[in-house]
């Protein structure tokens, strides 16, 4: 029986965070929050279907990238909003522009889902990244290049987001 069609190219991550759905939504969509955890980019979402999604580098990010010999583009990530249903569901396309080979792979698709947990105090945040045709990006967001300084991907970003929302400070130094 062969049923495997897309599976291996999709990654799913789920984390429980003691915060309201609204706080989690803001932490994903507002630049004053996205600058404080994970890869620390400045996200910009036009939250309607067809709206633009971009991530710009902070001055610190740009300086760090350039110090390591990476020319840093003005836009690190671009994409399009497909669905935006605050504070529950956000679907966008996603293309990584930091690296020319990854940019070449084109657009992938990320779904964020926020669901209040039965305990009434926390929410689950589920990130589903469909990465068909993007093996380089898939490896990066899976955290495979963490040891070489490329960050730990979604698991790392989400752990950091949880830490920021629950304790007021991120894990990353």
């Amino acid at each position: 029986m062969t049923t495997a069609t897309q599976p291996a190219t999709t990654q799913v991550y789920r984390i429980y965070i003691k915060a309201t759905p609204e706080a989690i939504w803001d932490a994903i969509t507002k630049p004053e929050w996205t600058a404080r955890y994970g890869y620390t980019g400045l996200a910009s979402y036009d939250l309607r279907p067809g709206g633009a999604y971009t991530v710009a580098p902070t001055p610190e990010f740009r300086a760090a990238a350039e110090a390591q010999g990476f020319p840093c583009p003005d836009i690190i990530v671009d994409g399009e909003v497909i669905e935006a249903e605050p504070p529950k569901r956000l679907v966008t396309t996603f293309r990584m522009l930091m690296d020319p080979a990854m940019a070449e792979e084109g657009f992938t698709r990320i779904t964020h889902e926020i669901n209040p947990a039965p305990d009434g105090k926390s929410c689950s945040l589920t990130v589903t990244h469909e990465l068909e045709g993007a093996p380089l990006l898939a490896s990066m967001v899976h955290g495979d290049q963490e040891a070489s300084g490329a960050g730990g991907g979604h698991a790392w970003v989400l752990s950091d987001l949880k830490s920021l929302l629950e304790t007021g400070s991120p894990l990353a130094g």
Partner: protein, 105 residues
């Protein structure tokens, strides 16, 4: 309390085998997973249920199918909370020993 569920879920060879299967190839159906084990469908479902309760496996619908995905986050949290603390100490101790020995020579 979440840690308890994760440790309990990991304390079983069949469940660790299921996680290894998903690590090798993610997003599988119950039927695919079942075919790798000499166990009843019901038995495999029970194990998957424990893994889901521990948030180690997350399921997604794809058409008529329910696909099982390995969620690495709870293991990462355990690593950050329990492993880092001890390995860091060992590495530091070894590095200090190295520095001391090299100083003497």
């Amino acid at each position: 309390m979440t840690d308890d569920r994760v440790f309990k879920a990991l304390a079983d060879p069949t469940r660790r085998f299921l996680l290894d299967l998903l690590f090798t190839r993610d997003g599988r159906t119950l039927t695919e997973l079942e075919s790798e084990l000499e166990m009843s469908r019901f038995g495999v479902m029970k194990h998957l249920r424990v893994l889901e309760d521990a948030n180690l496996v997350v399921t997604r619908r794809s058409g008529r199918e329910k696909l099982h995905f390995l969620n690495p986050i709870p293991i990462r949290e355990i690593h950050d909370r329990w492993i880092d603390k001890y390995t860091e100490h060992h590495t530091t101790a070894l590095l200090e020993l190295k520095a001391e020995l090299e100083d003497e020579s």
